[in-house]
Amino acid sequence: VGANYQSTTVHLPPALATGNLDIISNAHCREVTLNKDGKASGVVFIDKTTGKETRVNGKAVILAASACESARILLNSRAANGRDALANSSGKVGKYIMDTVGAKLMGQVPALENLPPHNEDGAGGDHLYAPWRLYKEQHAGKLNFARGYHIETGGSRPMPGGSNPAPDDFTQGSYGTKFKEDARRYYGSFVYYAARGEMIPNDDCYMDLDPKVKDKWGVPVSRFHWKWSDHELNQAIHAKKTFAALIEDMGGRVLESKDFTPAGSIQNPGYIIHEVGGAICGEDARTSVCNGFLQTWEVKNLFLCDGAPFPSNADKNPTLTIMAMVWRACDHLVGEAKKGNL
C-alpha cells in the first residue's frame, strides 16, 4: 500500500512514471567504461540469467552498489591510461572502510516476571533511546577513548512468535501446564542493551582485490583487512560494562559472558552492516576519491551515491545521511549537466 518507506513503493514508481527509467534486474556490474575523452561512457554488466556480457551507455554514470561493491567496481575498472584502477589517482579507493562499533549484553530481571498483561507494543527499542552522554567526562580526560556511542534497548512484551519464550535454564525442564505458567512468568522479563558507536577510520581497515579468487562470473572479489584501534575497543568495553551495571542495578542477572576483554566486548567488523568508506570524499584530489558532491575527481561524470564517500562514520545509522548526500549530489549533477560541465 506504500505506507512503509522503501524504494520499491516510494521512489521507484514516480521515477518509472517519467518514462525515463529502465530497470534491469539480475545485472552484475563488472566495470565502468570510459570514452576516448576519458569520461565515463557506461558500464559492462553480466546478465546473471544468461551469463552474457552486456554494455549500457550513458551521459553520466552513478555507482550506488553499496560502499564496498562500488569500490570493487572502481578497482575492477581501468583508468584512461588503461593500467590503473579507475578514479584512484589518490590511491584511496578501497581505503578507510568503516563499520559501526557494536557491543551488547542481555539480562533477565526478576522484578519484571509475572507482571499483569499490558500493551507494550509500539516502535521497537522499548520507546527508549539514549544518545551519547559522557561529553563532560570525555572532555575531562576520564575516558580512554574518543567519540561515543548511543544505547538501544530491547525486551519488553513484543508480539511473540518464532521463538521459545521460556528457555530451559529458567524452566528447569518443565512441561505441561507448568511450562505454560513458566512461559507466562518469564515473558517480558528479559532486557537487552546494544551500543552503536563511532569508528574512526584508520589505515589498517581497507579492502583490495583478491589476486586469485574470482566470483562465478570471473570478476575478482574483494579482500578485507581489519584492525580496530584502541578507541573502538575501549569504547566497546565501556559500553558492555555499562550494560552489566544497568542490569545488575535492577536486580537482574547478566545472561551472557561477563568477558570485558576487547575481543569479548566488541562485535565483529561487518556485523552491524553499516559498512561505509572505501571511496572517501574530501577537499583535496590528492587525498580523496570524490568531492563533496560525490563526483569523482578523476572523472567528472562519475558519481558515487552510496556509503563509499563517507570520510567518517558517526554512531547513527548511515542511510539517512546517504540519502541527504545523494540528494545534493543529484542536484549538482543536473546543474552541471545543464551548464554543459560534465
Binding site: 498483561p117 499490558h118 521463538s163 521460556a166 501446564t177
Partner: protein, 252 residues
C-alpha cells in the same frame, strides 16, 4: 491445512482461529529464519542447542534429500529459491514434508503433553503446532536441516521407549505413563547419561513447539500478550504495573 488436523475453531477476541494454513506455517518458518539474528530471538534460543546430527541419507522417503541440502560456500550453490509467501501452496508442494502418519501421531501426542489444553488455552495440536513442526524440519535452511534428524530420531526413541516400558506407542499411553517417560528426559542437566540424546531431543522439540504455539493468537493470550491493537490514546503503563515495580509515571 494438514490432512490429519481437525479444524477446531477458537474464538480469541472476536477473531475466529483455526489451525494455521500452509501459507501461514511457511510464513512462520520464513520469518523465524529471517529474524534469527535479532535480539528478541536470541533471548529465546537454547543455551545449549543440541549438536547437529549428521543427516542420514534415505531415512525418510527419498524426495526430501534434494531440497534439504545445506548450501556449500565453496560451490556458490545455495538452497534454491525461497517460497513465494503470497502464493497458496498445497502441503508438501514447495518442499516435501517429512512426517509420516505414525510420526505425526507421536509428535501430536508429545506436543500436547508439553502444551496441553488447560485454563491457559488450547492444546498444541489444536492450533497447528505439529503442521508447523513438519514445515520447520522439512525446510532446506541450515538450522532446519540440522533439526530434522534430531526430531525424527527423537520421535522414534519416544515410541521405542514407550513400547519397551508399556508395550504401546506413546500416543496410546495414559497421562501417568506419559509423565513417567517425560520426567526422565525433560531437562538435559538432570537426565541420566543413557538419556542424554533423548533429553536433547526433548529440549529442542519443546522449544520448537513453544515457538509455534506462541506464534498463534491463542498462544498470545496464554502468554499474556495483549498488543497489536489500535489505541485511541496511550496512557502509559497501567497503575498496577507501576505499583508492582515501585515506580511513578512522570511523563504525561
Amino acid at each position: 491445512v494438514s490432512d490429519e488436523l481437525k479444524p477446531v475453531p477458537l474464538n480469541v477476541k472476536g477473531v475466529r482461529v483455526g489451525p494455521l494454513s500452509r501459507r501461514e506455517a511457511m510464513q512462520w518458518v520464513m520469518s523465524a529464519v529471517a529474524a534469527s539474528s535479532l535480539p528478541a530471538r536470541t533471548l529465546a534460543q537454547e543455551k545449549n542447542p543440541p549438536p547437529a546430527t549428521p543427516a542420514e541419507e534415505g531415512r525418510n522417503s527419498a524426495p526430501q534429500e534434494e531440497a534439504a541440502k545445506v548450501p556449500d560456500p565453496n560451490t556458490n550453490r545455495g538452497y534454491g529459491t525461497d517460497p513465494k509467501l503470497l502464493k497458496m501452496y498445497k502441503p508438501g508442494e514447495f518442499w516435501p514434508l517429512t512426517f509420516n502418519a505414525s510420526q505425526k501421531k507421536t509428535a501430536t501426542a508429545l506436543a500436547d503433553v508439553i502444551l496441553p489444553k488447560d485454563n491457559l488455552g488450547p492444546a498444541a495440536s489444536e492450533v497447528g503446532v505439529v503442521a508447523m513442526l513438519d514445515e520447520w524440519i522439512s525446510a532446506p535452511y541450515p538450522q532446519q536441516v540440522s533439526d530434522r534428524p534430531v526430531i525424527v530420531e527423537g520421535l522414534a526413541w519416544v515410541d521405542a521407549e514407550s513400547k519397551k516400558r508399556f508395550r504401546k506407542t506413546f500416543a496410546e499411553l495414559s497421562g501417568e505413563q506419559h509423565r513417567a517417560i517425560c520426567d526422565d528426559v525433560c531437562f538435559v542437566p538432570k537426565a541420566r547419561a543413557e538419556h542424554t540424546s533423548a533429553a536433547e531431543f526433548f529440549s529442542r522439540f519443546r522449544s520448537l513447539c513453544a515457538a509455534a504455539y506462541y506464534a498463534t493468537p491463542p498462544g498470545w493470550e496464554a502468554l499474556g500478550y495483549v498488543g497489536n491493537v489500535a489505541l485511541e490514546r496511550f496512557d502509559g503503563p497501567p497503575q498496577d504495573v507501576l505499583d508492582r515495580l515501585g515506580v511513578t509515571q512522570t511523563v504525561k
